[in-house]
């Protein structure tokens, strides 16, 4: 095992491939240690806690995912590429991160290769809402963000995310910033943090994910019981001919546009699941 559990020293290699392009992003020893401890705790708990949560998802909530095996194969294929990767998904329920982790790989796979288990950036008010959520977020690679925090706090969070991504870790963020109040991807109101991350790490790719339950007509706290999810993946590498903030915005908008486009494709393929259709038939 590497020192500080894989978060110090030179960027690691995955599957023995070529080194990734990275920009040196340094953090204080205290912050690096905090991340390393969080990672170690998460790895120790990924089997017991992860399997428990998966059991609840599968046998209590009875959630299902279409083409689940194929989805996991695609995810592994994408991760075999050595370049840094950030996961960006649309956001409709507070369970999205949990469902995504379950969707993308099995818990034994995460235990075997814990880098595949992505870091999450939950809102601090959600992460600390209940004792159970507090425990789960403490043990599952979470960086709680105060959305109402000042610019320094947000910059610090972006630094930590960039550091992790540049070290080969995966980070999942929801570029909409919050659950979509309209139930659709709101391309115009997306946040630009992903643009800053992408711009700070040369060669950084973004895995855009569109996920939606068949009965998810608007945003909600939890998906409905017996829900079946459709999850689509598309990898992009945002680039911009602009400089500075304009480039940041440009890259972030490319991500939002891609997810928005994936949503359009979803509703073209499944018009029966669109909110308009549901309204029309009184669902």
């Amino acid at each position: 095992m590497q020192s500080t559990f894989g978060l110090s020293g030179p960027p690691p290699r995955w599957w023995g491939g070529r080194p990734r392009a990275v920009t040196p992003i340094d953090l204080t020893f205290r912050t690096r240690s905090k991340l390393a401890v969080s990672r170690l705790l998460g790895w120790l708990c990924v089997l017991p806690l992860g399997l428990l949560i998966v059991a609840i998802i599968r046998y209590h909530a009875k959630l299902k995912i279409r083409n689940h095996a194929e989805l996991r194969r695609q995810f592994l294929e994408i991760c075999r590429d050595q370049r840094p990767l950030v996961i960006c998904a649309n956001h409709l329920t507070i369970m999205d991160s949990v469902v995504l982790h379950w969707a993308l790989a099995s818990m034994p796979r995460y235990f075997w290769n814990y880098r595949l288990f992505s870091w999450n950036v939950p809102a601090v008010e959600n992460a600390t809402k209940y004792l159970s959520w507090r425990i789960i977020t403490a043990l599952s690679k979470c960086l709680a963000i105060d959305r109402a925090g000042n610019a320094e706090h947000h910059d610090d969070m972006l630094q930590q995310i960039s550091f992790l991504v540049s070290r080969g870790e995966l980070v999942t963020i929801f570029p909409e910033g919050t659950r979509s109040r309209t139930g659709r991807v709101e391309v115009e109101t997306g946040t630009y943090g992903i643009g800053k991350i992408v711009r700070s790490i040369p060669g950084c790719r973004v895995l855009c994910i569109y996920m939606r339950g068949d009965g998810q007509f608007a945003y909600s706290t939890f998906p409905r019981l017996n829900e079946t999810f459709t999850i689509k993946l598309k990898t992009i590498e945002p680039i911009s001919s602009h400089r500075g903030l304009r480039a940041v915005r440009d890259c972030a908008q490319q991500v939002m546009l891609t997810i928005g486009q994936m949503e359009q494709e979803y509703f073209l393929a499944h018009p029966e699941f669109s909110p308009a259709f549901a309204t029309a038939v009184g669902a």
Binding site: N150, A151, H154, G177, T191, Y192, G193, G244, L245, R249
Partner: protein, 82 residues
């Protein structure tokens, strides 16, 4: 001159401010994030809109210092005099 620039900055900020009441008493000391409740991403939109409106270029270091309406107005005026 400063009033004109100030008015133009306020006009740019208005659609992005979530605290509409604070806009009634907006002044040079009004902060974008706390007082006007502009999100950090929308602040980027505001800075880019200022660049377009006044034909100036704001680099990242300067952008980090734009915390208040007054700071934005001062930056615009200093750029225009150069």
């Amino acid at each position: 001159m400063s009033d004109v620039v100030m008015d133009q900055v306020v006009a740019i900020v208005t659609p992005f401010a979530r605290n509409k009441e604070a806009l009634q008493s907006v002044g040079p000391d009004s902060t974008f994030l706390q007082d006007l409740q502009v999100s950090s991403s929308r602040l980027v939109d505001i800075i880019l809109a200022i660049e377009d409106k006044f034909g100036i270029e704001v680099d990242d270091t300067e952008a980090d210092k734009i915390n208040t309406i007054g700071a934005a107005v001062s930056l615009i005026k200093s750029k225009q005099t150069h």
